[in-house]
């Protein structure tokens, strides 16, 4: 049941040795398989996840544990992930497996985070309901009282929102060009932040509208958003619009 935890709770339990990253990851992988009806995860990467979790456990045992170390995440399909399908929910990128890793996922992995798989979204992030996806829409875990009607998780980061709200992962990456993090977060009862333009590198994120696109975390709590954004943010020489401004400590409160 550790898939229901917040990042902050998991981080503390991992550091105290109360749980391993492998156990935490297994808990999420089980939830993901049971959550196929939500159509949130469109490419599952359990082998990568367990490999990263084992590495994270070794780091934690060695006393080298950044806040995101061992935290299982879902990654929006808009992020290029090396050797893993990254098709922006479009048929035009069917079969595309990047030969490189986006800066955001690189930073998260360097911090020890675990990738559970790729998440559904509107095609090229163009939509507000996840219904333009080439994978078919993700489904909102919430339903109206006494109704069986399936609802949209919002868009474009609808798979991310559904996955976090349904506890398939502890948190997820999203991107926001016109509300694609914040609207699905609101539709599913979770937290989503779009950082200042230039705070997070766009390198390796499939471009929609370059003067508007920003990536950000989608989490269960504000505290988790602070922890995860800290790991995602920062200047990147590979994105000339990423700001060379120091990232303050976001986790202080």
């Amino acid at each position: 049941m550790s898939n229901t935890w917040t990042i902050a709770a998991a981080r503390d339990a991992l550091r105290k040795g109360e749980i391993t990253a492998v156990d935490l990851t297994m808990s999420c992988l089980t939830a993901i398989d049971a959550g196929d009806g939500l159509n949130a995860f469109v490419h599952k990467t359990p082998e990568i996840a367990l490999e990263q979790a084992r590495t994270a456990d070794a780091r934690i045992a060695g006393g080298d544990a950044p806040a995101m170390c061992g935290i299982p995440l879902g990654i929006k399909d808009l992020f290029c992930t090396k050797g893993v399908p990254s098709q922006a929910a479009s048929n035009i990128l069917k079969g595309f497996k990047p030969e490189y890793e986006s800066t955001v996922t690189s930073k998260l992995f360097d911090a020890g985070a675990v990738m559970l798989g790729k998440l559904n979204m509107d095609e090229f992030a163009m939509g507000s309901s996840n219904e333009t996806s080439a994978y078919g829409n993700a489904v909102n875990p919430w339903k109206r009282k006494g109704s069986n009607v399936q609802l949209t998780p919002g868009g474009s980061s609808g798979g991310s929102a559904a996955a976090v709200a349904a506890d398939l992962c502890l948190a997820a990456t999203g991107t926001d060009t016109g509300g694609s993090i914040r609207q699905p977060a609101a539709f599913t009862g979770i937290v989503g932040i779009k950082p200042t333009y230039g705070r997070v590198s766009r390198w390796g994120v499939v471009a929609f509208a370059s003067s508007l696109d920003q990536a950000g975390p989608m989490t269960k709590t504000v505290r988790d958003a602070a922890i995860m954004l800290q790991a995602m943010a920062g200047h990147d020489p590979k994105d000339s619009t990423s700001a060379d401004i120091p990232v303050p400590d976001l986790r202080r409160r």
Partner: protein
């Protein structure tokens, strides 16, 4: 604005006031043009960014018939590979950037964008720390419910959020309550540029006051 969203917003104002915030009503007169400006600028940039999907370097390439040249390859590949909404936005973007319309649409939208930015600059210069708005104009709607509506109806979902992208500011959605049908509703806080730290602190206050702990009942 729907009464339920209006009430949630008022509740959020009370929570922040209760936590010690000084609440001021502000006017951002050009933000009512944010949506049309966005739907010029975003498709314009998209039409340029998505030009790379041509069936040459990666992804899908359409099956060609005898006599098809490179133009047919591009046109068939893009017709097969892109869904209807993406095609529509590429074409809108192509149109607003085309000779004769560039100034009327694209440049005008960028000028309006500058005016929207000025509204926010003035508000912050006037001592505002953060701006509280609804996150969405409604709770989650049914899948397929909007399929017959014209694209503009779907675009209206972004009415409270697109402005923030146009001006590059940080914005956060925080769950604050449930609507009458038991669905989550959120509010948005918009912060000063580069000050995500303060924005997160304000959001933490809102989150604590709202005490939203509801979870979706498992059916999947």
């Amino acid at each position: 604005m729907p009464a339920e969203i209006e009430a949630l917003w008022a509740k959020g104002v009370e929570m922040m006031r209760d936590a010690g915030a000084t609440v001021r009503d502000i006017s951002l007169p050009h933000t009512k043009y944010a949506l049309p400006a966005y739907y010029v600028i975003a498709p314009a940039e998209a039409s340029s960014n998505l030009a790379r999907y041509d069936g040459v370097r990666y992804g899908h390439r359409a099956k060609l018939t005898a006599g098809d040249g490179i133009t047919e390859m591009y046109e068939k590949t893009r017709a097969e590979g892109f869904g209807p909404e993406v095609q529509r936005r590429i074409m809108v973007g192509t149109y607003v950037l085309s000779a004769g319309f560039y100034d009327a649409y694209y440049n005008r939208a960028r000028k309006v964008r500058a005016l929207i930015k000025r509204d926010f600059d003035l508000a912050f210069a006037d001592g505002i720390d953060a701006i509280l708005t609804p996150a969405t104009p409604s709770a989650a709607f049914g899948l397929g419910e909007m399929s017959d509506a014209d694209p503009i109806q779907m675009y209206l979902n972004d009415v409270f959020t697109v402005t923030v992208n146009l001006v590059g500011l940080p914005g956060i959605a925080v769950p604050v309550g449930l609507d009458a049908q038991g669905l989550p509703l959120g509010l948005q806080l918009i912060g000063r540029p580069w000050d995500e730290a303060s924005l997160l602190n304000h959001a933490h206050v809102l989150e604590s006051r709202a005490g939203f702990v509801a979870k979706a009942e498992k059916w999947w």
